[in-house]
């Protein structure tokens, strides 16, 4: 019924608000500074958004499944440090799979706690944020990690290379987005994630193994984090222990901006990508018009609140909350 009554321009705005906002932004910045829509600028934005974007793809799975993941930032630091450290010890060919295995193990641990033990995901991932940070510091001994021979390694290809003129990070982000979008939107597993997040009890009553589905969303998330760590490490070939600090909330901001509900059961990979790009282009646009990078924080704040507010206002049919 709601869908039917929400026709016309207003309904379109309510449903596709985030795309409209995105378009308005792009046009506004383009008018303010022509460089904004130059190909190399756009490519640069996507490239610098790729790490955040890859993480956001994974978190989208977790959020649609009805949970939160606040540990991705600190897990990304872990992956970065581990792969850099192992690079010199084992060589890149072994370091990468080893790092993926360790990161996936962390994701599996979280998935076990939230999925099978049914512990509150906010607190579990909050605890893991701290625990993994400790793990990273222990691994690195608190020191920065650098690759010894920065010139002579093929490892840099993931973060710095280009294939047919397209930067590799963009390719990886795009490829992952397409694959994950297919998994979420087209496979039985994806359908189950929506069911579990939309109504976990009904999913159980329909014979869906809720615990396993939740578990797997965290493993997916960890896989994305490991990929992000790889990109980060490869881009800079050296890193601090805190490289991912604070990213968990930026990632969540992108996912929410894309319109996924924190209650679970809604959102798509495509919308998350839009959310990521909006954050990236805002940052870039503000820089281009001569504002400092931190102005984007304030702008992002306003956009997130407005986006979520308008979304629920459209659903309840009035702007202000009815609570007295």
């Amino acid at each position: 019924m709601a869908e039917l009554t929400r026709g016309g321009v207003g309904g379109f705005l309510a449903r596709q608000g985030i795309l409209v906002a995105f378009a308005v932004f792009m046009v506004g910045f383009a008018l303010a500074n022509q460089r904004f829509i130059a190909v190399d600028n756009i490519s640069g934005v996507i490239r610098s958004s790729a790490i955040l974007g890859v993480m956001a793809l994974g978190v989208t799975f977790v959020v649609i499944g009805g949970n939160l993941d606040l540990s991705v930032g600190s897990m990304m630091s872990f992956s970065t440090i581990v792969v850099l450290d192992l690079h010199d010890k084992l060589g890149p060919a072994l370091a990468i799979p080893a790092m993926f295995a360790l990161t996936l193990a962390l994701g599996a641990f979280i998935g076990f706690l939230v999925g099978y033990l049914k512990l509150n995901s906010l607190i579990v991932t909050l605890g893991m944020l701290s625990a993994i940070h400790g793990l990273t510091l222990t691994w690195s001994g608190g020191k920065n990690m650098d690759i010894a021979d920065k010139e002579g390694t093929w490892f840099a290809i993931f973060g710095q290379g280009e294939v047919i003129g397209i930067p590799v990070p963009i390719l990886i982000f795009a490829l992952l987005a397409v694959v994950l979008s297919l998994i979420l939107g087209k496979t039985p597993f994806g359908r189950k994630i929506y069911a579990v997040g939309g109504n976990g009890q009904a999913a159980t009553f329909s014979g869906i193994p809720r615990a396993r589905v939740v578990f797997l969303t965290y493993v997916m998330s960890a896989f994305c984090v490991a990929t992000a760590g790889l990109l980060q490490a490869s881009r800079s070939l050296g890193s601090q222990n805190t490289v991912g600090q604070g990213m968990e909330l930026e990632v969540l901001a992108a996912v929410i901006l894309g319109g996924a509900s924190l209650l679970g059961g809604s959102g798509t990979i495509f919308k998350t990508v839009i959310g990521v790009l909006i954050l990236g282009f805002i940052q870039n646009g503000l820089l281009l018009v001569g504002l400092e990078f931190y102005v984007q924080y304030v702008v992002t704040w306003v956009i997130i609140i407005l986006a979520v507010w308008l979304d629920i206002a459209a659903k309840r049919g009035r702007l202000l909350s009815p609570i007295a």
């Binding site: 509150n120 701290s130 702008v299 997130i304």
Partner: protein, 330 residues
């Protein structure tokens, strides 16, 4: 008091005792220093160091009892600190000499109150979940910190202020006094006043509270004002002494505060929790930091241990509340 409440409210204090014994004994064998762990000065210092996060955690307790959460406290803390230190350099303030101190405190506290009120108003009027509102303002307020003074640290040392902050009264440091007084006032608020009891009622059964005519919206807003005030009070306490604030200061404070509150046994779903237990949670965390340092563990290990303890507490809580085999498996 039933056995269950003793178990729940005494848990954190028992944990503190275990920590004390463990670190004292382990310290005999492992300690890198000759000093005993339970050294009196050491304990006093511990209380003082607990104060900044502690004061914020007290406020977070009320927010969480109310059934909400506040992720923006770290940024509020930083912005208040910037206002505190910067305001003392304003020409008319500088001209006032030491009389500028109370005024600077006032400005800083006002900053916290305003930021809290903005959060509260948004939660009340938009109906957007507090998690999202404060996630947004965490970014936004941090942006304001940067906009204030760029990426430069803001510094101003006022020796009168430093003296005050380093003073000890009845053996306790100024910061400790702030923590204890704040804890007492908030304990009084939550256990003795109508506002406090309503906070529990709203977190426990919001619909019942609404039906009983409690004005939930303004109530929630006042609690956000309160936590804003406490975040800036924490900044006042800390930066009076240090005199210099980096724009990234206070990051992750929200997470530490939430950790302390959860360790203290406050329910995430709201309606249950206590100020005193949060104080216990704060002390337990600080004890763990110091203790691990005392027995020569890397400081890095602290994060690992605290994170795992947080999860363990959650697990224990769930096991205690299980209904047994007959439970519906959903």
């Amino acid at each position: 008091m039933t056995k269950e409440t003793i178990l729940k409210q005494g848990g954190i204090w028992a944990f503190i005792v275990v920590e004390l014994i463990f670190f004292s004994v382990a310290g005999e064998y492992l300690s890198v220093s000759d000093k005993a762990f339970m050294d009196f000065d050491n304990m006093l210092l511990l209380l003082k160091q607990s104060a900044p996060i502690g004061i914020i955690a007290l406020g977070m307790t009320i927010i969480m009892i109310n059934g909400n959460i506040d992720l923006s406290v770290g940024a509020t803390f930083a912005l208040s600190a910037v206002v505190l230190l910067d305001s003392m350099t304003w020409p008319f303030m500088a001209a006032m000499g030491d009389w500028s101190i109370p005024l600077a405190w006032g400005f800083a506290l006002l900053t916290g109150v305003i930021l809290g009120a903005v959060n509260g108003l948004l939660v009340w009027k938009t109906g957007v979940d507090a998690f999202i509102v404060t996630l947004g303002s965490m970014l936004g307020y941090r942006g304001l910190v940067f906009m204030y003074n760029g990426e430069q640290p803001t510094s101003h040392l006022n020796w009168t202020l430093v003296d005050f902050a380093e003073a000890q009264f009845l053996g306790l440091h100024t910061a400790t006094w702030f923590l204890l007084v704040a804890a007492f006032v908030l304990w009084f608020l939550m256990t003795r006043t109508v506002h406090g009891r309503n906070a529990y009622a709203i977190g426990n059964n919001r619909e019942a509270a609404v039906n009983a005519g409690i004005r939930v919206g303004p109530h929630i807003m006042w609690n956000f004002v309160l936590i804003g005030f406490l975040a800036s009070l924490s900044a006042v306490v800390f930066y009076s002494e240090s005199g210099s604030v980096n724009p990234n200061d206070g990051m992750l404070y929200e997470l530490w505060a939430i950790t302390a509150v959860v360790l203290g046994g406050t329910k995430l779903t709201g309606g249950y929790g206590s100020i005193i237990s949060t104080l216990g949670g704060v002390i337990a965390i600080q004890l763990l930091r110091k203790g691990l340092g005392h027995i020569g563990a890397d400081t890095e290990t602290v994060n690992l241990v605290i994170g795992l303890i947080l999860i363990a507490v959650l697990f224990l809580d769930r096991q205690l509340n299980r209904k047994g085999k007959e439970e519906l498996k959903i």
